[in-house]
């Protein structure tokens, strides 16, 4: 197992290089001059602009810019964003917020998705199952920005059950509503996945055998149906953590969450190459690591899967 994990970590190196190169190239190719944009409506002072270009190496060709950027990463000096703050500090500020949001969303979708999915699966074809299935289709069908504004307005503004926007501290309480909105789509998916998996396992021969042993219904469900049904669900949840981190742009925009999505969006608009690449690179690494975590979880849940030998 150790060899396998080591191998997977070594695979991260080409992924890291490829991702940074690609993202750097995309930002480099963006139309418009970011330095000119900085002046806004004011007339451009050529001397200042040239100084800024030199500071951010924007006067260099692409390959030099990219290599300089790699050098800065390995010397742990990511440089500064356009407002002059160290990028490392920016990352340290936005990632904890988004991580909190994503983990809350993940817990929400996992707990409710699995519970609802299990009940729906066990009561296949009954009223609860039908209601939940229709509701999950509606949730999947409505775009997240519609759902987001809808919940923000009803629950946040009209009913006042949760804060409609997030303070700069982004506490757990602030993030409840955004986390629900962020997790809703995946919640519906987890629910349907659990339900299908439970129904499949309910008809498995070993479940009938377990019942024939004289086990209580509760134990049959918990030990023989639920655990086996969770294997595909957990695979999905692990991979979803990565998408939740990166995919929170819309939700963060609606609720004004000071997280990765918001900062990334601003950086893209202002053409801050190093900031964009730094954020995306961290996201790529999180994605790779959460995939590794899924593969390890998978082996733990299903003893038939072994990565050595």
């Amino acid at each position: 197992m150790a060899t396998y994990i080591l191998k997977r970590f070594l695979q991260l190196i080409p992924v890291f290089l490829g991702a940074t190169l690609l993202v750097y190239f995309l930002v480099f190719s963006l139309p418009g001059d970011p330095i000119v944009a900085l002046f806004g409506d004011k007339p451009v002072n050529e001397a200042v602009a040239a100084k800024l270009r030199a500071q951010y190496h924007l006067d260099q060709p692409f390959w030099i810019q990219y290599l300089l950027y790699l050098k800065s990463i390995f010397t742990f000096d990511l440089g500064q964003d356009f407002s002059g703050r160290p990028i490392a500090a920016v990352l340290g500020e936005v990632f904890p917020v988004t991580a909190r949001l994503a983990i809350m969303a993940l817990i929400f979708e996992a707990v409710f998705g699995i519970i609802f999915g299990l009940i729906a699966g066990l009561r296949k074809g009954k009223l609860f199952d039908a209601t939940v299935l229709v509701a999950s289709l509606i949730v999947i069908g409505i775009p997240i920005f519609v759902l987001g504004f809808l919940l923000q307005f009803t629950i946040g503004v009209q009913l006042g059950w949760a804060k409609p926007t997030v303070s700069s501290a982004a506490t757990v309480q602030d993030l409840i509503l955004p986390a629900i909105v962020l997790g809703l789509g995946s919640f519906a998916y987890v629910l349907r996945l659990t339900r299908t998996s439970v129904i499949e396992n309910m008809n498995a021969d070993y479940v009938r055998t377990a019942t024939a042993k004289g086990l209580s219904r509760f134990r049959v469900v918990r030990v023989h149906i639920l655990r086996n049904s969770l294997i595909p669900v957990i695979t999905f949840l692990g991979a979803d953590l990565g998408s939740l981190m990166g995919g929170a742009i819309v939700t963060e925009g609606i609720f004004n969450v000071p997280g990765v999505g918001n900062r990334l969006y601003r950086a893209v608009l202002s053409g801050e190459g190093p900031t964009v690449v730094s954020i995306v690179t961290v996201l790529v690494l999180i994605y790779c690591l959460s995939n590794l975590l899924v593969d390890l979880l998978y082996a733990w849940l299903d003893p038939r899967i072994r990565y050595d030998s």
Binding site: D205, Y206, T209, A210, G214, L215, R217, R219, I231, S309
Partner: protein
């Protein structure tokens, strides 16, 4: 002759039956309305007695047994009659009462050892939860004791392993351990060994017999094999299309079957048929007389030349063992034999013996590592692409699984016509005529042409597979377990059809099977394989009468019903 029945009736008066099923009706709710799966079923199991329910798939035998332990599928229910367990009607008992009974009063050993153990829990845990649920001591020693009683060697260590680390036989032993762990008074054994190799089958059934005798457990044995039922059970109940058509003491039922269905079953159960030939031979009757029509017409058809000659065939597979390393596994080791034109040669062996690998090499689907396959005087390894194409026209396969080997998206006409089109034979009209002829030959109505495989039964599909194999007028047909997946009566029909086609068309068969009973009925020559090696060859009569090797003897002894004494004129 009638004495056993009288004894049984006296016994019924004296002791209360452990399980009594009266007028049982079971209904399934399906999309097309209610289906009566079982009607008016009745049977009685006395304490300590073994009763077998025999029938083909869909006869309702498993459904009846599952009702007795309250495990009908959710769309099924008992719609009439009574199931009395020790005098208590449990046909509509609540779930709570059934949970009390399951395990320690009524145990179950299910059919398929591969799917009946939960793959994600250790064997020991699965035994332990059974003991725990029924209030028995459940320490590691207790678990190991239960497993070792079921004949599992090194039980304490084995208990820590997962099901996928067990062979089929070991899993079935674990399931028997679970079924008997709480010493139930009734054990429902649903085809407990039908998924296992014959020699393993015999060991497991012997062990099950021994354990249930020691514990005094009554057994309700569900099986499709009448020979096995008669050998293992005191009484046999025959079910057909949801109804009990006949029941009585085993030997009596076998000697004097009353219902037409039982008569057909007695006359065609392979284990019994092969036994019958054996008994007949011992009494001086020539087996050819009994094998009709299998060998009729063979005399003219058989030319003495060897159509297939296999010389020193070897196949080595490389097994990956991680990071570019590999170990060699010799699947077929120095196998030589020859097949005469117009005859049937059977290759017999258990799973893993390499018999199917030989078949695939003969079909030129797999390259031999060394050795030669000579077909009609030509070494098949020297053929170029065009010659292989021509070779395929002369050697055709029929595979085991008629569900898997027909394309579900092709209708029957397209399936049978495809080889003709591939080999560019005839015009559209002549091909259609040929397909009609082929369907006639395999006794399927011509209307079958428009249908799809999922609309046909297993036997009909296998007929389609035979028709497809015959389409190119081949000389040799390789049957890889071609009848193993079929019910006994259908199996008998298909075997008759193959024999009939052989005598009419002068076909040569290479028959790959694990079932010696089938071999006895169809083959002229037998090759016995064990672990990749050919351990014995000879004419069928010689091998059956005077087996030379221990392994062959073990295989022969494993045919169910071998202990039964049957007159040759039974049925």
């Amino acid at each position: 002759m009638n004495t056993p029945v009288e004894i049984r009736e006296e016994g019924t008066a004296a002791v209360r039956p452990l399980l009594e099923i009266r007028d049982l009706a079971i209904t399934f709710k399906t999309g097309g309305g209610d289906v009566n799966a079982v009607r008016n079923a009745h049977l009685t199991v006395m304490p300590g007695e073994t009763v077998a329910i025999v029938g083909e798939s869909g006869s309702g035998k498993s459904t009846t047994a599952l009702a007795a332990i309250g495990l009908l599928p959710t769309n099924g229910r008992v719609s009439g009659g009574q199931i009395l367990f020790d005098g208590e009607d449990i046909s509509n008992a609540g779930e709570k009462r059934m949970i009390e009974l399951r395990g320690n009063s009524i145990g179950m050993v299910p059919q398929d050892p591969m799917s009946n153990l939960n793959p994600v829990w250790k064997i020991g845990q699965q035994v332990r939860e059974t003991l725990k649920a029924n209030g028995l001591p459940d320490g590691p020693d207790d678990v190991a004791k239960v497993l070792s009683q079921a004949g599992l060697p090194d039980a304490a260590r084995r208990a820590k392993q997962y099901p996928h680390e067990f062979s089929g036989g070991m899993r079935q032993r674990a399931l028997i351990a679970i079924g008997l762990s709480c010493q139930p008074r009734l054990l429902i054994a649903d085809e407990p060994t039908s998924a296992l190799d014959v020699t393993v089958q015999r060991q497991i059934l012997d062990h099950l017999d021994k354990m249930t005798t020691e514990l005094g457990t009554a057994v309700l044995l569900i099986t499709h094999d009448l020979g096995l039922a008669a050998e293992r059970a005191d009484k046999v109940v025959v079910m057909y299309r949801g109804q009990v058509v006949e029941s009585g003491p085993s030997l009596e039922l076998l000697r004097n079957p009353q219902h037409p269905y039982t008569q057909r079953l007695v006359s065609s159960a392979p284990s019994l048929a092969s036994r019958r030939i054996q008994v007949a031979k011992e009494q001086g009757v020539e087996s050819e007389d009994l094998l009709a029509p299998a060998e009729e017409g063979l005399v003219e058809a058989a030319k003495p030349d060897e159509v297939l000659k296999i010389e020193n065939l070897r196949k080595v597979f490389k097994l990956r063992s991680g990071l570019g390393r590999s170990t060699d596994f010799t699947a077929v080791d120095d196998v030589s034999f020859s097949v005469k034109r117009g005859t049937t040669t059977a290759i017999v062996g258990e799973s893993g013996s390499g018999k199917s690998t030989v078949a695939q090499m003969v079909l030129n689907l797999l390259q031999p590592t060394s050795g030669k396959i000579v077909f009609d005087g030509v070494d098949t390894s020297t053929l170029n692409a065009k010659e292989i194409f021509a070779f395929r026209r002369r050697v055709q396969p029929i595979f085991q699984d008629p569900y898997g080997s027909l394309d579900p998206m092709y209708n029957i006409f397209r399936t049978i016509e495809e080889p003709l089109r591939t080999h560019k034979i005839g015009t559209k009209a002549s091909r259609e005529k040929k397909v009609r002829e082929l369907l006639d030959q395999v006794a399927l109505p011509q209307s079958t042409m428009q249908r799809y495989p999922n609309e046909l039964s297993g036997g009909q599909r296998q007929r389609v597979a035979i028709a497809r194999a015959l389409a190119l007028d081949p000389e040799v047909i390789i049957c890889d377990e071609a009848v193993s997946a079929l019910d006994v009566l259908v199996q008998a029909q298909v075997l008759n059809l193959l024999a009939d086609l052989q005598s009419r068309l002068g076909l040569t068969y290479l028959f790959i099977t694990h079932d010696l009973a089938v071999v006895r009925q169809i083959a002229d020559h037998v090759c016995v394989m064990e672990k990749g090696k050919l351990v014995e060859t000879g004419s069928t009569d010689d091998v059956f009468d005077a087996p030379q090797m221990e392994y062959t003897k073990a295989l022969l002894n494993a045919i169910p019903g071998a202990k039964l004494m049957l007159p040759p004129d039974v049925a």
